[in-house]
Amino acid sequence: MPVSGVSYLPILIFLAVAILFPVVSLLLARVVRPSNYSRAKMDPYECGVETQGEPRQRYSIHYYVIAVLFVVFDVETIFLFPWAVKYRALGLFGFVEMLVFLAILVIGYLYAWKKGALEWV
């Protein structure tokens, strides 16, 4: 099958419709909806109690660690995809090659585990 941009045309149409929907519905809602200002409605919503503290709080460093680990292992997954598609053609060579590749990554994974990067306190 020839690879061309034509196969993306339906996606583009779909995308246009998908983008049009929020735009149209938001504009339509703007016309028909009521708008009653009230001071209480404008407070940050916290189940009715008075707002406590700042919204920008300090949060756990673990979110960053997880993000960094994600980048590392996601790139690994992306490397695996082309290999997986051509696996039958590669045969034993591909198997051994990927064994080495995965072994290196598993060592990294175990290191991260051992260092407590996966622990959530």
Binding site: S7, Y8, L9, P10, I11, I13, F14, L15, V17, A18, I19, F21, P22, V23, S25, L26, L28, A29, R30, V32, R33, P34, K41, M42, D43, P44, Y45, E46, C47, G53, E54, P55, R56, Q57, Y59, H62, Y63, I66, A67, L69, F70, F73, D74, T77, I78, L80, F81, A84, V85, Y87, R88, L92, F95, L102, V106, Y109, W113, L118, W120, V121
Partner: protein, 322 residues
Amino acid sequence: MGGVTYMTWVERRVAGIVQDRLGPNRVGPAGLLQPIADGIKFLFKEDVVPPHVYKPLYILAPALSFVPSLVGTAVIPFGDSLHLFGRDIALRVADLNVGILFIFAMSAMGVYGIALAGWSSNNKYSLMGGLRSSAQLISYELAMGLSVVGVLMAAGSLRLNEIVAAQGEFRWNLWYQPLGALVFLVAAFAETNRAPFDLPECESELVAGYHTEYSSMKFAMFMMAEYANMITASALMVTLFFGGWQVPGLGRLSLPPLAVSLVQVAAFLLKTGFFLFLYVWVRWTLPRFRFDQLMDLGWKALMPLAVLNIFWTSWAILSGWL
């Protein structure tokens, strides 16, 4: 032209499955018109935009979460091809050679919507919800990506229709890679932020998580995005592991081609419907995870299992068993 026709069909299907609820039974026969009433109500609701939000991103976020979720459904093959009036109509909106990567790309886009919604709301619960959601989505995306590698090896293609075709009527990937199917199922639940992984919303601690400060149509968009994601995930589950539109033993019956196509589409919808039902079923059955349990499951259980599945599949293919 066929694409546009089926696009509207898919749209209606998406809308139809969003109706999945038991409660409302007053609007129309058995409450069938309830979603329309809901939509109208959403449209007529006041849209409160509090002064403390960062407006550009606050408005962009729901759209950013809604648009990719809808576009992602476009590449799912819901049937082989329909032979009608002397022409073959492929039963999918778009047939990309990188179909599965496209779906992953679209589902990854959804993270931006949620993270930006949490951040731009300037509400501490929203921020917590957005952060949790981002961490959860990227963690389970890994397991999901790894669990799919086995399927790609078996099919030798990224094109979703070829993945289905490679499975044949009986050789569904489920039988050969039960581990991969399990990991994918769990990861799919987490990716769609559904119970028991609905920590981003987690109403008992975070009010409503990232969409606490949203109302009216913007809130509706988050909801629709969630349901559209569920449908994509269910359809993908069926496509990758449950033989897509394949029906065991259908080839032997020697039915006319049109009937075969219709039965295949029906089978696909039935299978997808089952997983959608499973979503709802699980939601009302299982309690929510704690966040550390969620992360442990994703990183320490699903990741190794997914890698194990890759080893198993590569060995099975190498030994000629698969």
